[in-house]
């Protein structure tokens, strides 16, 4: 791969995650996009490329993303595209587009309203329609299989999983966008019943309605408008075999490949924001990215504190950028995932100047 052009995150914003937003997706996207643009100091009309990530099946209607154009204000017409993926992949597409050098800014957003439909009925449709969807494997049940494999391999204990949940919820108390927050005692968490053994309620992400927007700029533009940009030092994504039985669920090969290609291991990471939607996925991802005990994991509370599907991965990248822009850190990583049991993963390494 050729040398990359420097691109930075110069603006970001998130919606306050809610279990059941009264507003429509367009309504809660609108202020998020405005806020990200305001932070970037780039006038809406000057944005060179816009890319969105969302999913028809969440809102239960076809072409749901078309409505989201209203939140961007696509008049006069804009140069625009959409991925039926987490907004993190929209960021990837925009980052690639910025490498062409004919434009210098891009607006990216991801949004999802999970509340209208029951995830246990919708997400089995994400599996192979011939062999897996008919089994009705819901996300929690299949994650429980992964959690069990990890426990059996001795890579995690139920206590460690509860500690991850307690830490995430405690950290989330400082995150105004988080949904599940508070100070929880690990023993009390472990006294709760299983939802799908070995997973208890605290091991499972909340159902969230939310959105995230990010503004990207090439080097010259970023320096012109931004005091402390978060530079994208590397970004890559990989997919694995679909059938969970074809994979070793206790590791994440695709995260390791993407992380290595993005340079995650080439220098120490200070903060990692990981889309570990289930507690046991955090150690899998840490191992795949080579993150040691000295790395702060998910100071935002992560996906266990708010899980706005289609925005949660982009929100991790935004939080990783925030650690550089507002938190004074030098090198962070944001991670996004797609599919069951970490089938597809994206890693974005960010640095300060």
């Amino acid at each position: 791969m050729a040398a990359l052009k420097d691109v930075a995150i110069i603006g970001y914003a998130q919606a306050r995650n809610e279990r059941r937003a009264q507003a429509t997706e367009v309504q809660f996207l609108f202020p998020v996009i405005n806020e990200a643009l305001e932070m970037s100091k780039i006038p809406r009309r000057e944005i060179g490329f816009t890319c969105a990530g969302s999913c028809d099946y969440l809102s239960g209607q076809t072409f749901a993303f078309v409505m989201n154009l209203e939140a961007v204000g696509a008049w006069p017409p804009i140069s625009e595209s959409h991925v039926e993926m987490d907004g993190a992949w929209a960021l990837y597409e925009a980052w690639v587009r910025l490498q062409h050098e004919d434009i210098d800014t891009a607006l990216v957003f991801g949004s999802g309203k999970s509340s209208p439909g029951p995830p246990a009925e919708i997400f089995p449709l994400q599996m192979d329609p011939y062999t897996l969807t008919p089994l009705g494997l819901d996300p929690v049940s299949i994650a429980a299989i992964q959690g069990r494999a990890l426990l059996d391999a001795g890579k995690v204990t139920e206590r460690q999983m509860a500690e991850i949940a307690a830490r995430s919820r405690r950290d989330a108390m400082k995150n105004p966008y988080a949904q599940v927050t508070g100070d929880f005692d690990v023993d009390e968490l472990l006294a709760q019943p299983y939802i799908a053994a070995p997973l208890r309620m605290h091991d499972i992400p909340p159902i969230s309605d939310g959105a995230c927007a990010v503004v990207l700029a090439t080097a010259e533009k970023a320096r012109e408008v931004c005091e402390r940009p978060a530079w994208i030092r590397g970004i890559d994504h990989r997919i694995e075999a679909h059938q969970p039985g074809m994979r070793d669920l206790t590791t994440s090969v695709s995260t390791r490949l993407a992380g290595d290609a993005a340079g995650a291991r080439s220098a120490p990471i200070e903060v990692a924001e990981l889309s570990a939607t289930f507690t046991h996925q955090e150690p899998i991802l840490c191992e795949a990215l080579g993150l040691g005990d000295d790395v702060a994991i998910n100071p935002s509370g992560g996906a266990l504190a708010a899980n706005p599907v289609m925005a949660v991965g982009l929100a991790r990248i935004a939080e990783a950028a925030k650690q550089i822009v507002e938190g004074g850190h030098g090198r962070t990583v944001g991670h996004a995932t797609s599919g069951m049991c970490l089938q597809q993963n994206l890693v974005c390494v960010l640095e300060s100047d």
Binding site: T62, E80, M85, P129, I239
Partner: protein, 386 residues
Amino acid sequence: MSHEPCAIVGFGQTKHKKRRDDLSLPGLVREAAERALDDANMTWTDIEAVVIGKAPDPFEGVMMPELSLADALGAVGKPMMRVHTAGSVGGSTSIVASSLIMARRHKRVLTVAYEKQSEGNAQWGLAGGRSGGMGAGGIFAPWMQSYIRASGAPEHIGWKVAVKDRLNATKNPYAHLQLPDITIEKVRESPMLWAPIHFLESCPSSDGAAAMVLTDEEGGRAASKPPAWVLGTAMRSELGSFPGRDTVRPQAGVECAHMLYDAVGITNPREQIDVAELYVPFSWYEPMWLEGHDIAGPGEGWKMVDSGETELTGSFPVNPSGGVLSSNPIGASGMLRFGEAAQQVRGEAGEHQVPGAKVALAQAYGGAAQYFAMWIVSSELHPSLS
């Protein structure tokens, strides 16, 4: 040009049919992808990344199908992206794939688009899963009426486009509809669906897939068959509904075309472009896009149709493949336009080849005629655009 040149070195498509019940979804995309790889003289291991596109997931009832198609498309261990921009998606997907090459991110990219309409009910899907849907024809019919009123076009123009595209399709073995006996009279006498659109002026529902292999300049120069060079790409979107919107000649379509012409150095598209594959799901959209993309002046598009200029043997052939009117696997329909344009300049279009085609335009549109994707390809990387 600061970006890496992009070449199309392989193209493949399925036989499009009403029902490909001989193939699963992985089988369908694989049939097109393997043909594209064979055409490029490559194997799965040569591919660095996969970009897949299709129209709404509820059309087949599979949510984010890239996840279950990753294995069939040889994507395991590689980057895989999924594009969705309504009807323009096959075009946008091609553009996203070319962007990966132009950005020097990858040297060899496979892109695939598909729809298996027989697995679901597109009319239901187009209505957003609600009852009382008008169908795409119901949405577009008033705008076609509006064009007819403003341009003074005679009603046989639509029939003529329908006959031309279906006769072109008889020269394309992959095309769904094979209607060698079609006549103006038969189109006129076919049932009225949405005035002014008769049954035979409307696209079919098809199962099908299209695929392309794209490479960098080195790959294009080393290709075993002549490549098509991507001279420029453009995407434009606008809101679907607001007071004062020009739905007949949407501003996004005008700007998309001019952005592309400017990038490529086209000042007189009608003269400088040899052949066009335009997204014409209903007959009247041929003259509407000829004007909507400033290939013809206001009120001149239908005259190009009437004088036979858009026929295979005309001065500006449109849809020599038979177009969307002959095959409409929705998600793939845009990529078929983009791939057929490439085949024309590669000299690989077979019986529907436009002799000596050097510069070809492809276009796809979607939503309420609000999403546009276009590219221009050429047999030469730096053609003299006379």
